[in-house]
């Protein structure tokens, strides 16, 4: 837990509703996570074969403010003890964000507490603050089903984007591949489990390279086609080997960019975050690359890699200390690029 000298004794509530998970977290600056709860509409979304924004928004209304009450009860805390309320203000599904922001605003008005607008992707990176103070400058890799990119993290609130996917997110590539192999959603964990059972490596899939762009940019949209063609050409190879091929292609593409960035920039650590960061093969590769550069790679625990309220509370703390406030008249902000443009 990041115990900034100026922050001990502070309690932060985080509310996250950017997609299909309603999540609430309560974090104490000195004592770490005090409470957390997540409700997901994934089960209901399944019926529609994808995320329907209206279904997500309806589910958020149904469980708020109940989840907040449950978290405060879990932590044996009173509302008056809360220093500030953080809420994801974007990017994400507009109608879904609006519900979380409305609940947060209402609590802030009723309790007279300050409100902090939190960037969803920055919050993911802050999940790493649970393992200790963030070291600056560092390299931040964000990999999820909706976003994939690399940032130079120079200080709190100071991120510079150096590379990103030009098409699909890494998690999206895993989801599409999983569907092709008849696996469930989300595809990442299913692919990882199946790949672990493969006896030997699978056929090599091409890794997308971007010509003319940043050396840290990525492309994952070709993977699904390549996997389908490989499956058609060589149907005898079993699904586990294909899963391993797909995982390897995604991990390799990410690892190459991280390696290249560590060659180019002097940083003290690598921080990974997002759902795909929970993949153990990716974690092992990042650890090895970081060690080769004499630094350490950090990844949050799996439950803090996916959407959660704790990361929002952690990001809110830094936003609060920096004086960032959410006005009651401010609506969701989406799209909302993270950090400044490339160097």
């Amino acid at each position: 837990m990041d115990e900034g000298a100026d922050g001990a004794g502070e309690l932060f509530l985080g509310i996250e509703t950017s997609c299909d998970e309603t999540a609430v977290g309560l974090v104490h600056a000195g004592q770490g996570v005090e409470g957390e709860a997540v409700a997901s509409s994934a089960g209901k979304q399944d019926r529609y074969g994808g995320i329907v924004p209206e279904v997500a928004a309806r589910e958020h209304v149904a469980v708020l403010p109940g989840l907040v009450a449950a978290v405060l009860q879990q932590a044996h805390r009173q509302p008056q003890e809360i220093t500030a309320i953080g809420v994801t203000a974007g990017p994400g599904l507009f109608g879904a964000l609006l519900v979380g922001m409305t609940a947060a605003k209402a609590l802030a008005v009723a309790w007279g507490r300050p409100l902090v607008a939190v960037h969803h992707l920055e919050a993911h990176l802050y999940a790493n603050a649970l393992s200790g103070p963030i070291m600056f400058p560092s390299l931040a890799l964000l990999v999820s089903g909706g976003h994939t990119g690399l940032w130079l993290w120079r200080g709190h609130g100071d991120l510079v984007r150096i590379g990103e996917t030009q098409d699909d997110a890494a998690g999206e590539a895993l989801d599409k591949g999983a569907r092709l192999l008849g696996l469930g959603y989300p595809g990442g964990p299913a692919i990882e489990r199946l790949a672990a059972t493969a006896e030997g490596p699978g056929p090599r899939l091409p890794i997308g390279h971007i010509r003319g762009g940043s050396p840290y940019d990525m492309s994952f949209s070709g993977l699904k086609t390549a996997l389908r063609q490989t499956v058609e050409r060589d149907p005898a190879v079993n699904a586990a080997r294909y899963a391993r091929s797909l995982q390897e292609a995604v991990v390799q593409a990410l690892a190459e960019r991280v390696d290249r960035a560590l060659d180019a920039f002097q940083v003290g650590a690598v921080y990974a975050a997002g759902g795909v960061a929970a993949n153990r093969v990716l974690q092992a590769r990042l650890t090895a690359i970081a060690r080769a550069h004499h630094i350490e790679a950090f990844v949050p625990e799996p439950r803090y890699c996916t959407d959660n309220g704790v990361m929002v509370a952690l990001a809110a703390r830094h936003g609060f200390l920096a004086g960032a406030r959410l006005s009651l008249e401010q609506g969701p902000r989406t799209p909302w690029p993270l950090g400044t443009e490339r160097l």
Partner: protein, 234 residues
């Protein structure tokens, strides 16, 4: 009498009232579509200000704008829980009907209109509150809804349909000189004892329509004009 904060955003804008018994001490209406998220809590803070928490929160549940209703219901649930006061609710269409100056009259209230589809409520506005004459529904125009009214009672149309002169003429109805805000009606319903106390954690808006928005062509194929629309799998 306890102070009540009443909120409604089913009809496009937001309507907020603070009342002591039947007396409205502060009222704000913001008639701008899709701005509930930015306006509602800003005005709640302006109205409630530094005063102590009200004794109850009342909210219109819709049907109407999905987003507006969600903002009002989410805000009302969170405010009532955070203040530790009862949460009271009614249909937004009933609230609109109760906002009509005292009857006797039959009131056809309407919230969001999308093309020929509109949410309608049919109520009798007597000396207090508003009694339902039929269930709130999604209606397909140009059909005219049945309005069972007593001889001599006026028919008043409020809400989205009040702007449709042809509809008003065909119904033989009249409109009000000033549009009414649903939060005023919530206060009238509270005074008449017609609000029900609801759970601050589990309350959900009344949507009267499933979450999938189908293209208009698919909608008319599924619901040929000429009857009340089903609830779309809600």
């Amino acid at each position: 009498m306890p102070r009540i904060l009443a909120l409604d955003a089913a009809a496009g804008g937001v309507s907020i009232a603070l009342a002591e018994g039947a007396r409205i001490v502060a009222y704000v209406e913001w008639r701008e579509d899709r701005m509930a998220g930015e306006r509602l809590l800003f005005w709640v803070r302006q109205i409630v200000g530094g005063a102590s928490a009200p004794g109850g929160v009342a909210v219109g549940l819709g049907p109407g704008s999905f987003t507006g209703t969600r903002v009002a219901v989410t805000a009302a649930k969170a405010l009532a829980w955070a203040w530790g006061v009862p949460l009271l609710a009614a249909s937004s269409l009933q609230a609109l009907a109760a906002a009509v100056p005292m009857g006797p009259s039959a009131v056809l209230s309407s919230t969001e209109r999308r093309g020929e589809e509109v949410y309608i409520g049919r109520y009798f506005r007597g000396q207090s509150g508003a009694e339902a004459l039929a269930e709130d529904s999604r209606w397909q125009l140009p059909n005219l809804p049945d309005m069972a009214r007593r001889p001599g009672d006026a028919l008043v149309v409020v809400g989205a349909l009040a702007a449709d002169a042809e509809f008003i003429a065909r119904m033989g109805a009249r409109t009000l000189e000033e549009e009414v805000g649903a939060a005023r009606g919530l206060v009238a319903l509270a005074t008449a004892g017609q609000l029900r106390e609801v759970d601050r954690f589990t309350l959900e808006p009344t949507y009267l329509r499933g979450p999938l928005i189908l293209p208009r062509s698919a909608m008319s194929a599924a619901h040929p004009p000429g009857r009340e629309l089903s609830n779309g799998g809600v």
